[in-house]
């Protein structure tokens, strides 16, 4: 991404901003889709870039522009969760239905990536958010905790559960929908 386009866009050049948009929309849309689901991804993506346009003047170049934009995207998406009335306790273990699937040996599948996208979409909201932020986008637990208003411990436990669920879901995809005698699904909700 030429720094010229960012500078031009910051001065009001919409054509330059369109180039900025086209360069970054795949990653932003992917983030929105994985965190909030396919139905909300388009609208969230638009919200992100409108916010980027509004905040461009504050970008000082201390970090790479992509890093700055991505963090802004995460903030917009998390704000949407809050706006929709999601509460802190959606991230707490006690408030989350937890799927426990005892993993069986996983056989190789050529289309693991497609399976993972589908599996992520099946996770509960809180676990999905934390898994995407940590394992897909690379944020640390401390950063995630700050963004979501939860403790690092909650972030870690939710990540653990998300990973466990995903392994089970991927294995279920690999081996078909039938359950083995060792597999049990338990939902825990207080």
């Amino acid at each position: 991404m030429p720094v010229d386009d960012v500078v031009l866009a910051a001065s009001g050049d919409a054509a330059a901003f369109e180039r900025v948009y086209r360069a970054h929309v795949p990653r932003v849309h992917g983030l929105a889709r994985r965190m909030a689901g396919s139905d909300a991804a388009d609208e969230l993506t638009q919200d992100v870039f409108v916010r980027v346009w509004q905040k461009l003047g504050t970008f000082r170049g201390e970090s790479a522009f992509g890093t700055w934009l991505h963090r802004l995207a995460v903030n917009v998406i998390v704000e949407r969760f809050r706006t929709l009335g999601a509460r802190r306790d959606r991230f707490l273990a006690d408030g989350e239905p937890v799927l426990e699937v005892t993993p069986a040996p996983v056989r190789a599948r050529p289309d693991l990536s497609m399976d993972l996208e589908s599996a992520i979409s099946e996770l509960p909201d809180g676990a999905r958010t934390i898994f995407v932020l940590h394992d897909v986008e690379g944020y640390r637990h401390e950063e995630i905790a700050g963004m979501l208003g939860i403790s690092s411990g909650t972030s870690k436990s939710q990540l653990h559960r998300a990973r466990q669920s995903l392994r089970g879901l991927l294995n279920r995809t690999a081996n078909g929908p039938q359950r083995t005698p060792k597999t049990q699904v338990t939902q825990m909700r207080k």
Partner: protein, 187 residues
Amino acid sequence: MDDPLPGDDPLVAALASLRDEPPTADLWPGIAARLSAPPSSRRVVSLTLPQLAMAATLIIAVSAGVSWLALAPRPAATLPPEPAIRAVVEPGGAVQPDIQRATFADAQFDAAVADLERILREESQRLDPQTVMVIERNLRAIDDAIRESRAALDADPANTYLNSHLADARRRKLDLLRRAAGLSTGG
């Protein structure tokens, strides 16, 4: 990253295979419709020192890139005379009375550029395609630097560094065009 996955975890391979794709529908029209106001009313567009240094380096590189062009002497009457670019300080309507922007004879510069571009356009078939490509690429680089300087001056019109930077970029554009036009007319 804290809390990494074990290397043999099936999630590792699955994560590595994830791909980001643009949305199915083009979202830009909806975004463009919502861009009602400029990014910031303060218009704080300040090029950082690295960005200014990059623009300056670009100008130097353009000059170095065309230094190999043979300077064919031309009769003075064939090419428009190089205008004396001088600062013309005029009051700007939207700026404070004590801050005035130097325009560096816009009309004069534009007229000279237009004349030289016309000559280059009419005679460029006499140049080999590689030379034309180099000239056009270097002109684009200078135009980018001019545009960036103008954008920065919109926010900071009294900045003497930016004003001299813009004047320098314009002078180099004229210089490049004169040399290119001189080549194309087969001097």
